[in-house]
Protein backbone atom coordinates (compact mmCIF):
# COMPACT_ATOMS: atom_id res chain seq x y z
CA UNK A 1 0.00 0.00 0.00
CA UNK A 2 3.04 2.21 -0.14
CA UNK A 3 2.17 5.46 -1.80
CA UNK A 4 -1.58 5.07 -1.31
CA UNK A 5 -3.23 8.10 0.24
CA UNK A 6 -5.53 7.39 3.16
CA UNK A 7 -8.97 9.01 2.91
CA UNK A 8 -11.92 9.45 5.28
CA UNK A 9 -14.03 6.76 3.63
CA UNK A 10 -11.48 4.02 4.21
CA UNK A 11 -11.95 1.50 6.96
CA UNK A 12 -9.50 1.77 9.82
CA UNK A 13 -8.88 -1.98 9.62
CA UNK A 14 -7.95 -1.64 5.95
CA UNK A 15 -5.30 0.93 6.81
CA UNK A 16 -3.73 -1.55 9.20
CA UNK A 17 -3.94 -4.35 6.65
CA UNK A 18 -2.12 -2.15 4.19
CA UNK A 19 0.57 -0.89 6.51
CA UNK A 20 1.02 -2.18 10.02
CA UNK A 21 3.07 0.85 11.02
CA UNK A 22 -0.23 2.72 11.25
CA UNK A 23 -0.98 0.81 14.47
CA UNK A 24 1.24 2.98 16.63
CA UNK A 25 -0.64 6.09 15.53
CA UNK A 26 -4.02 5.08 16.95
CA UNK A 27 -3.22 5.47 20.64
CA UNK A 28 -1.88 8.96 19.92
CA UNK A 29 -5.40 9.93 18.89
CA UNK A 30 -7.11 7.97 21.63
CA UNK A 31 -8.35 5.37 19.15
CA UNK A 32 -8.56 1.91 20.68
CA UNK A 33 -8.43 -1.31 18.76
CA UNK A 34 -11.65 -3.29 18.39
CA UNK A 35 -13.18 -0.75 16.05
CA UNK A 36 -14.87 -3.27 13.77
CA UNK A 37 -15.57 -2.04 10.27
CA UNK A 38 -15.77 1.65 11.08
CA UNK A 39 -14.44 4.14 8.62
CA UNK A 40 -11.87 6.78 9.48
CA UNK A 41 -14.55 9.45 9.25
CA UNK A 42 -16.87 7.60 11.66
CA UNK A 43 -14.25 7.11 14.30
CA UNK A 44 -13.05 10.69 14.08
CA UNK A 45 -16.60 11.99 14.47
CA UNK A 46 -17.25 9.69 17.43
CA UNK A 47 -14.07 10.63 19.27
CA UNK A 48 -14.04 14.29 18.32
CA UNK A 49 -10.88 14.06 16.27
CA UNK A 50 -10.29 16.59 13.50
CA UNK A 51 -10.57 14.41 10.38
CA UNK A 52 -8.29 16.50 8.17
CA UNK A 53 -5.65 16.60 10.86
CA UNK A 54 -5.84 12.86 11.37
CA UNK A 55 -5.42 12.24 7.64
CA UNK A 56 -2.53 14.66 7.46
CA UNK A 57 -0.68 12.88 10.27
CA UNK A 58 -1.35 9.37 8.96
CA UNK A 59 -0.36 10.20 5.41
CA UNK A 60 2.78 12.10 6.34
CA UNK A 61 3.79 9.34 8.72
CA UNK A 62 3.22 6.47 6.32
CA UNK A 63 4.31 8.06 3.09
CA UNK A 64 7.72 9.69 2.66
CA UNK A 65 6.63 11.40 -0.56
CA UNK A 66 3.43 12.85 0.77
CA UNK A 67 3.67 16.58 0.79
CA UNK A 68 0.73 18.34 2.36
CA UNK A 69 1.30 21.76 0.88
CA UNK A 70 -2.26 23.07 0.77
CA UNK A 71 -3.34 21.71 4.09
CA UNK A 72 -0.59 23.36 6.09
CA UNK A 73 -2.47 26.65 6.42
CA UNK A 74 -5.25 24.97 8.35
CA UNK A 75 -3.12 23.04 10.80
CA UNK A 76 -3.72 23.92 14.41
CA UNK A 77 -0.38 24.12 16.22
CA UNK A 78 -1.79 23.10 19.59
CA UNK A 79 -3.32 20.00 18.08
CA UNK A 80 -0.07 19.19 16.36
CA UNK A 81 1.97 19.62 19.53
CA UNK A 82 -0.56 17.49 21.40
CA UNK A 83 0.05 14.75 18.87
CA UNK A 84 3.84 15.07 19.05
CA UNK A 85 3.86 14.97 22.84
CA UNK A 86 1.77 11.79 22.71
CA UNK A 87 4.30 10.31 20.31
CA UNK A 88 7.16 11.25 22.63
CA UNK A 89 5.40 9.60 25.54
CA UNK A 90 5.04 6.47 23.49
CA UNK A 91 8.80 6.41 22.88
CA UNK A 92 9.65 7.12 26.49
CA UNK A 93 7.15 4.85 28.18
CA UNK A 94 6.74 2.02 25.74
CA UNK A 95 9.39 1.69 23.05
CA UNK A 96 12.55 2.56 24.95
CA UNK A 97 11.80 0.40 28.01
CA UNK A 98 11.04 -2.53 25.73
CA UNK A 99 14.31 -2.03 23.85
CA UNK A 100 16.12 -1.80 27.16
CA UNK A 101 14.66 -5.09 28.29
CA UNK A 102 15.82 -6.76 25.06
CA UNK A 103 19.33 -5.37 25.44
CA UNK A 104 19.32 -6.54 29.02
CA UNK A 105 18.33 -10.07 28.00
CA UNK A 106 21.03 -10.05 25.37
CA UNK A 107 23.60 -8.92 27.90
CA UNK A 108 22.62 -11.61 30.39
CA UNK A 109 22.60 -14.37 27.83
CA UNK A 110 25.75 -13.51 25.93
CA UNK A 111 29.12 -14.00 27.49
CA UNK A 112 31.48 -11.69 25.67
CA UNK A 113 33.70 -8.88 26.95
CA UNK A 114 32.25 -6.47 24.39
CA UNK A 115 28.69 -6.88 25.60
CA UNK A 116 29.14 -4.48 28.52
CA UNK A 117 30.38 -1.82 26.14
CA UNK A 118 27.48 -2.51 23.83
CA UNK A 119 25.09 -1.89 26.69
CA UNK A 120 26.94 1.29 27.59
CA UNK A 121 26.71 2.43 24.01
CA UNK A 122 23.00 1.73 23.99
CA UNK A 123 22.46 3.58 27.29
CA UNK A 124 24.37 6.51 25.92
CA UNK A 125 22.17 6.50 22.87
CA UNK A 126 19.00 6.35 24.97
CA UNK A 127 20.22 9.34 26.99
CA UNK A 128 20.66 11.22 23.75
CA UNK A 129 17.14 10.38 22.63
CA UNK A 130 15.76 11.44 26.00
CA UNK A 131 17.66 14.74 25.85
CA UNK A 132 16.40 15.33 22.35
CA UNK A 133 12.78 14.68 23.33
CA UNK A 134 13.07 16.67 26.57
CA UNK A 135 14.46 19.63 24.68
CA UNK A 136 11.47 19.62 22.37
CA UNK A 137 8.96 19.11 25.16
CA UNK A 138 10.46 21.68 27.51
CA UNK A 139 11.85 24.35 25.24
CA UNK A 140 10.63 24.18 21.66
CA UNK A 141 6.98 23.24 22.15
CA UNK A 142 6.21 25.76 24.91
CA UNK A 143 7.57 28.49 22.68
CA UNK A 144 5.40 27.32 19.82
CA UNK A 145 2.35 27.23 22.05
CA UNK A 146 2.97 30.80 23.11
CA UNK A 147 3.26 31.92 19.51
CA UNK A 148 0.04 30.14 18.74
CA UNK A 149 -1.76 31.64 21.75
CA UNK A 150 -0.67 35.07 20.62
CA UNK A 151 -2.01 34.41 17.15
CA UNK A 152 -5.35 33.36 18.57
CA UNK A 153 -5.99 35.86 21.32
CA UNK A 154 -3.41 38.59 20.92
CA UNK A 155 -2.41 38.07 24.51
CA UNK A 156 0.67 40.17 25.18
CA UNK A 157 3.75 38.35 24.06
CA UNK A 158 6.71 38.40 26.36
CA UNK A 159 10.09 39.05 24.93
CA UNK A 160 11.23 35.90 23.18
CA UNK A 161 14.67 34.91 22.15
CA UNK A 162 13.80 31.74 20.37
CA UNK A 163 12.62 30.93 16.90
CA UNK A 164 11.80 27.96 14.75
CA UNK A 165 15.14 28.43 13.01
CA UNK A 166 16.86 27.45 16.23
CA UNK A 167 14.64 24.42 16.43
CA UNK A 168 15.41 23.45 12.87
CA UNK A 169 19.11 23.79 13.43
CA UNK A 170 19.02 21.70 16.54
CA UNK A 171 16.77 19.10 14.99
CA UNK A 172 19.68 16.76 14.68
CA UNK A 173 19.77 13.27 13.53
CA UNK A 174 19.23 10.89 16.43
CA UNK A 175 19.27 7.80 14.24
CA UNK A 176 23.02 7.74 13.60
CA UNK A 177 23.97 5.70 16.66
CA UNK A 178 21.05 3.40 16.03
CA UNK A 179 22.48 2.55 12.65
CA UNK A 180 25.88 1.87 14.26
CA UNK A 181 24.22 -0.42 16.75
CA UNK A 182 22.48 -2.36 13.99
CA UNK A 183 25.72 -2.72 12.07
CA UNK A 184 27.59 -3.98 15.10
CA UNK A 185 24.95 -6.62 15.75
CA UNK A 186 24.65 -7.70 12.12
CA UNK A 187 28.24 -7.56 10.95
CA UNK A 188 30.68 -7.47 13.83
CA UNK A 189 29.37 -8.97 17.03
CA UNK A 190 30.65 -12.57 16.93
CA UNK A 191 28.19 -15.45 17.04
CA UNK A 192 27.36 -16.05 20.66
CA UNK A 193 24.64 -18.67 20.57
CA UNK A 194 22.07 -15.92 20.89
CA UNK A 195 20.11 -16.80 17.73
CA UNK A 196 16.57 -15.45 17.95
CA UNK A 197 17.34 -13.06 20.77
CA UNK A 198 19.60 -11.00 18.55
CA UNK A 199 17.09 -11.18 15.70
CA UNK A 200 14.32 -9.91 17.97
CA UNK A 201 16.56 -7.10 19.16
CA UNK A 202 17.48 -6.18 15.60
CA UNK A 203 13.88 -6.20 14.45
CA UNK A 204 12.98 -3.86 17.27
CA UNK A 205 15.91 -1.55 16.50
CA UNK A 206 14.93 -1.42 12.83
CA UNK A 207 11.29 -0.66 13.70
CA UNK A 208 12.34 2.00 16.16
CA UNK A 209 14.62 3.62 13.63
CA UNK A 210 11.88 3.72 11.04
CA UNK A 211 9.45 5.10 13.56
CA UNK A 212 11.86 7.90 14.47
CA UNK A 213 12.43 8.76 10.82
CA UNK A 214 8.69 8.96 10.18
CA UNK A 215 8.23 11.01 13.31
CA UNK A 216 10.99 13.42 12.33
CA UNK A 217 9.32 13.86 8.95
CA UNK A 218 6.18 15.19 10.60
CA UNK A 219 8.29 17.70 12.53
CA UNK A 220 10.23 18.74 9.44
CA UNK A 221 7.44 18.83 6.90
CA UNK A 222 4.53 20.00 9.02
CA UNK A 223 5.59 21.50 12.33
CA UNK A 224 8.44 23.68 11.11
CA UNK A 225 6.59 25.28 8.15
CA UNK A 226 3.44 25.81 10.21
CA UNK A 227 5.28 27.54 13.04
CA UNK A 228 7.26 29.60 10.55
CA UNK A 229 4.00 30.85 9.09
CA UNK A 230 2.81 31.83 12.54
CA UNK A 231 6.05 33.63 13.26
CA UNK A 232 5.58 35.74 10.15
CA UNK A 233 2.17 36.84 11.37
CA UNK A 234 3.39 37.60 14.86
CA UNK A 235 6.65 39.40 14.21
Amino acid sequence: MAGLIITGEMKLSDIVDGDKRALVLFPRFGIELGFGDRSVEDICKKLGIDLQFFLLMVNTFLNPDYFPDKQLKRVDVDMLIGYLVEAHNYYLEERIPYLQSLINNFKNRVDHPAVMQLEKFFDQYIDEVRDHLAYEDETAFPYMERISAYGKSRLPLERIDYSVDVFEERHDNIQEKLSDLKNLLVKYFPPAGDRYLRIRLLNELIDFEEDLINHARIEDKVLIPVVRQLEKQVR
Partner: protein
Protein backbone atom coordinates in the same frame (compact mmCIF):
# COMPACT_ATOMS: atom_id res chain seq x y z
CA UNK B 1 63.18 12.50 1.26
CA UNK B 2 64.99 9.35 0.25
CA UNK B 3 63.49 7.92 -2.91
CA UNK B 4 64.44 4.74 -4.66
CA UNK B 5 63.60 3.51 -8.14
CA UNK B 6 64.14 0.02 -9.50
CA UNK B 7 64.35 -0.57 -13.23
CA UNK B 8 63.75 -4.09 -14.52
CA UNK B 9 64.44 -4.47 -18.21
CA UNK B 10 66.28 -7.11 -20.28
CA UNK B 11 67.50 -4.84 -23.06
CA UNK B 12 70.70 -3.15 -21.98
CA UNK B 13 70.17 -0.20 -24.33
CA UNK B 14 66.76 0.55 -22.87
CA UNK B 15 67.80 -0.16 -19.28
CA UNK B 16 70.83 2.10 -19.42
CA UNK B 17 68.75 4.71 -21.18
CA UNK B 18 66.20 4.69 -18.39
CA UNK B 19 68.88 4.87 -15.74
CA UNK B 20 70.29 7.89 -17.54
CA UNK B 21 66.92 9.60 -17.91
CA UNK B 22 65.72 8.94 -14.36
CA UNK B 23 69.12 10.08 -13.09
CA UNK B 24 68.56 13.44 -14.75
CA UNK B 25 65.17 13.89 -13.12
CA UNK B 26 66.63 14.64 -9.69
CA UNK B 27 63.74 12.74 -8.17
CA UNK B 28 65.58 9.68 -6.95
CA UNK B 29 68.46 9.23 -4.58
CA UNK B 30 68.95 5.60 -5.47
CA UNK B 31 68.62 4.05 -8.90
CA UNK B 32 68.88 0.28 -9.20
CA UNK B 33 68.67 -1.91 -12.25
CA UNK B 34 68.09 -5.59 -12.87
CA UNK B 35 67.98 -7.46 -16.15
CA UNK B 36 65.98 -10.58 -15.37
CA UNK B 37 62.96 -11.55 -13.31
CA UNK B 38 64.79 -14.02 -11.10
CA UNK B 39 66.20 -11.20 -8.97
CA UNK B 40 62.98 -9.22 -8.86
CA UNK B 41 61.49 -10.51 -5.61
CA UNK B 42 64.70 -10.25 -3.61
CA UNK B 43 65.48 -6.80 -5.02
CA UNK B 44 62.05 -5.50 -4.12
CA UNK B 45 62.16 -6.90 -0.62
CA UNK B 46 65.69 -5.64 -0.01
CA UNK B 47 65.50 -2.21 -1.66
CA UNK B 48 61.87 -1.34 -1.02
CA UNK B 49 61.77 1.04 -3.97
CA UNK B 50 59.13 3.74 -4.28
CA UNK B 51 58.83 3.08 -7.97
CA UNK B 52 59.33 -0.01 -10.07
CA UNK B 53 59.67 0.44 -13.82
CA UNK B 54 59.36 -2.95 -15.41
CA UNK B 55 59.06 -4.56 -18.79
CA UNK B 56 55.78 -6.54 -18.76
CA UNK B 57 57.58 -9.37 -20.56
CA UNK B 58 59.28 -10.11 -17.23
CA UNK B 59 55.97 -10.68 -15.53
CA UNK B 60 54.54 -14.17 -15.74
CA UNK B 61 51.16 -14.96 -14.10
CA UNK B 62 52.81 -16.08 -10.87
CA UNK B 63 54.86 -12.89 -10.73
CA UNK B 64 51.80 -10.82 -11.56
CA UNK B 65 50.00 -12.19 -8.54
CA UNK B 66 53.00 -11.75 -6.30
CA UNK B 67 53.50 -8.15 -7.44
CA UNK B 68 49.85 -7.27 -6.91
CA UNK B 69 50.02 -8.70 -3.40
CA UNK B 70 53.28 -6.92 -2.67
CA UNK B 71 51.88 -3.63 -3.87
CA UNK B 72 48.69 -4.00 -1.79
CA UNK B 73 50.69 -4.73 1.33
CA UNK B 74 53.00 -1.82 0.70
CA UNK B 75 50.09 0.51 0.16
CA UNK B 76 48.40 -0.69 3.30
CA UNK B 77 45.26 -2.08 1.70
CA UNK B 78 45.90 -5.79 1.88
CA UNK B 79 46.21 -8.46 4.50
CA UNK B 80 48.98 -10.94 5.13
CA UNK B 81 48.18 -14.33 3.74
CA UNK B 82 45.31 -15.88 5.65
CA UNK B 83 46.92 -15.37 9.02
CA UNK B 84 44.56 -13.58 11.40
CA UNK B 85 46.82 -13.75 14.40
CA UNK B 86 48.53 -10.44 13.65
CA UNK B 87 45.45 -8.30 14.27
CA UNK B 88 47.19 -6.36 16.98
CA UNK B 89 48.57 -3.20 15.46
CA UNK B 90 51.56 -2.74 17.73
CA UNK B 91 52.72 -6.30 17.97
CA UNK B 92 55.32 -6.68 15.27
CA UNK B 93 56.73 -9.95 16.54
CA UNK B 94 53.74 -11.79 15.14
CA UNK B 95 54.31 -10.64 11.61
CA UNK B 96 58.01 -11.34 11.71
CA UNK B 97 59.81 -11.50 8.40
CA UNK B 98 56.72 -10.92 6.36
CA UNK B 99 56.27 -7.37 7.57
CA UNK B 100 56.77 -4.90 4.76
CA UNK B 101 57.08 -1.30 5.72
CA UNK B 102 54.05 0.62 4.55
CA UNK B 103 54.66 3.44 2.11
CA UNK B 104 53.43 4.06 -1.36
CA UNK B 105 54.74 1.82 -4.03
CA UNK B 106 54.00 2.35 -7.70
CA UNK B 107 54.65 0.33 -10.78
CA UNK B 108 55.21 1.61 -14.29
CA UNK B 109 55.46 -0.52 -17.38
CA UNK B 110 58.12 0.13 -19.95
CA UNK B 111 56.78 -1.20 -23.19
CA UNK B 112 58.07 -1.80 -26.64
CA UNK B 113 54.93 -3.31 -28.09
CA UNK B 114 51.34 -3.78 -27.03
CA UNK B 115 50.50 -4.54 -23.44
CA UNK B 116 48.49 -7.54 -22.37
CA UNK B 117 45.01 -6.54 -21.22
CA UNK B 118 45.18 -8.73 -18.15
CA UNK B 119 48.27 -6.95 -16.98
CA UNK B 120 46.97 -3.41 -17.34
CA UNK B 121 45.48 -3.28 -13.85
CA UNK B 122 48.89 -3.78 -12.34
CA UNK B 123 50.42 -0.55 -13.59
CA UNK B 124 50.03 2.97 -12.37
CA UNK B 125 51.62 4.34 -15.53
CA UNK B 126 52.80 3.18 -18.93
CA UNK B 127 56.04 4.49 -20.40
CA UNK B 128 56.53 4.04 -24.13
CA UNK B 129 59.93 3.38 -25.59
CA UNK B 130 59.35 6.34 -27.90
CA UNK B 131 58.60 8.77 -25.04
CA UNK B 132 60.89 11.79 -24.70
CA UNK B 133 62.78 12.37 -21.47
CA UNK B 134 60.42 15.19 -20.68
CA UNK B 135 57.39 13.01 -21.15
CA UNK B 136 58.86 10.28 -18.95
CA UNK B 137 59.57 12.87 -16.28
CA UNK B 138 55.97 14.05 -16.45
CA UNK B 139 54.67 10.50 -16.14
CA UNK B 140 56.85 9.65 -13.15
CA UNK B 141 56.04 12.93 -11.48
CA UNK B 142 52.31 12.53 -11.86
CA UNK B 143 52.58 8.93 -10.69
CA UNK B 144 54.34 10.05 -7.51
CA UNK B 145 51.87 12.81 -6.75
CA UNK B 146 48.77 10.70 -7.34
CA UNK B 147 47.36 8.63 -4.52
CA UNK B 148 48.40 5.02 -4.92
CA UNK B 149 46.04 3.13 -7.16
CA UNK B 150 43.77 0.75 -5.33
CA UNK B 151 45.56 -2.17 -6.91
CA UNK B 152 43.62 -5.33 -7.41
CA UNK B 153 39.92 -4.49 -7.41
CA UNK B 154 39.28 -6.58 -4.31
CA UNK B 155 36.95 -4.63 -2.00
CA UNK B 156 38.77 -4.90 1.27
CA UNK B 157 37.03 -3.49 4.31
CA UNK B 158 39.48 -4.61 6.93
CA UNK B 159 41.38 -1.87 8.70
CA UNK B 160 45.04 -1.21 8.00
CA UNK B 161 47.34 -1.39 10.99
CA UNK B 162 47.54 2.42 11.06
CA UNK B 163 43.77 2.68 11.11
CA UNK B 164 43.72 0.17 13.95
CA UNK B 165 46.15 2.41 15.84
CA UNK B 166 43.74 5.29 15.42
CA UNK B 167 40.79 3.19 16.59
CA UNK B 168 42.74 2.02 19.62
CA UNK B 169 43.66 5.55 20.66
CA UNK B 170 40.12 6.78 20.06
CA UNK B 171 38.87 4.03 22.31
CA UNK B 172 41.32 5.15 24.97
CA UNK B 173 39.62 8.52 24.85
CA UNK B 174 42.23 10.52 22.95
CA UNK B 175 41.24 13.51 20.83
CA UNK B 176 42.27 13.88 17.19
CA UNK B 177 45.04 16.21 18.24
CA UNK B 178 46.34 13.84 20.90
CA UNK B 179 46.25 10.99 18.40
CA UNK B 180 48.26 13.00 15.89
CA UNK B 181 50.91 13.65 18.54
CA UNK B 182 50.98 10.06 19.67
CA UNK B 183 51.39 8.67 16.16
CA UNK B 184 53.58 11.49 14.80
CA UNK B 185 51.14 12.28 12.01
CA UNK B 186 49.31 15.50 11.18
CA UNK B 187 45.80 16.14 12.55
CA UNK B 188 44.67 16.22 8.95
CA UNK B 189 45.94 12.68 8.46
CA UNK B 190 44.08 11.58 11.59
CA UNK B 191 40.88 12.96 10.10
CA UNK B 192 41.55 11.15 6.83
CA UNK B 193 42.08 7.90 8.73
CA UNK B 194 38.85 8.45 10.63
CA UNK B 195 36.92 9.06 7.42
CA UNK B 196 38.32 5.87 5.94
CA UNK B 197 37.52 3.91 9.09
CA UNK B 198 33.93 5.12 9.04
CA UNK B 199 33.61 4.32 5.35
CA UNK B 200 35.04 0.84 5.74
CA UNK B 201 33.10 -0.18 8.84
CA UNK B 202 30.00 1.93 8.37
CA UNK B 203 30.26 2.91 12.03
CA UNK B 204 30.06 6.65 12.62
CA UNK B 205 30.14 7.19 16.37
CA UNK B 206 33.16 6.83 18.61
CA UNK B 207 31.09 4.78 21.03
CA UNK B 208 30.29 2.36 18.22
CA UNK B 209 33.96 2.16 17.27
CA UNK B 210 34.84 1.28 20.84
CA UNK B 211 32.52 -1.70 20.71
CA UNK B 212 34.07 -2.71 17.39
CA UNK B 213 37.56 -2.35 18.85
CA UNK B 214 36.76 -4.64 21.78
CA UNK B 215 35.08 -7.22 19.59
CA UNK B 216 38.16 -7.36 17.39
CA UNK B 217 40.73 -7.29 20.15
CA UNK B 218 42.15 -3.93 19.02
CA UNK B 219 41.77 -2.72 22.56
CA UNK B 220 41.26 -4.45 25.89
CA UNK B 221 38.35 -3.57 28.11
CA UNK B 222 40.71 -2.49 30.89
CA UNK B 223 42.55 -0.11 28.55
CA UNK B 224 39.45 2.01 28.10
CA UNK B 225 39.49 5.32 29.81
CA UNK B 226 36.29 4.91 31.69
CA UNK B 227 34.74 8.32 31.69
CA UNK B 228 36.37 9.75 28.65
CA UNK B 229 34.94 7.17 26.31
CA UNK B 230 31.46 8.38 27.10
CA UNK B 231 32.23 11.65 25.37
CA UNK B 232 31.43 12.03 21.72
Amino acid sequence: MNRTILIAEQSEIIRKGLVQITGNLNLFDNIHEISCSSKLKTSLTRLEPDVLVINPALIDPEMQQWLAGYRDRKNGSGTFDTDDSNEDGDNHENTGQKEIKPGYFRIAAIIHTLIDDELKGLFDEVIQVGDTGLKIKGKINSMLSRPASPGSPVQDDTLSSREKDVVRLLAKGLSNKEISEELFISPHTVITHRKNITRKLNIKSVAGLIVYAIINGIVNVDELHDDKNINK
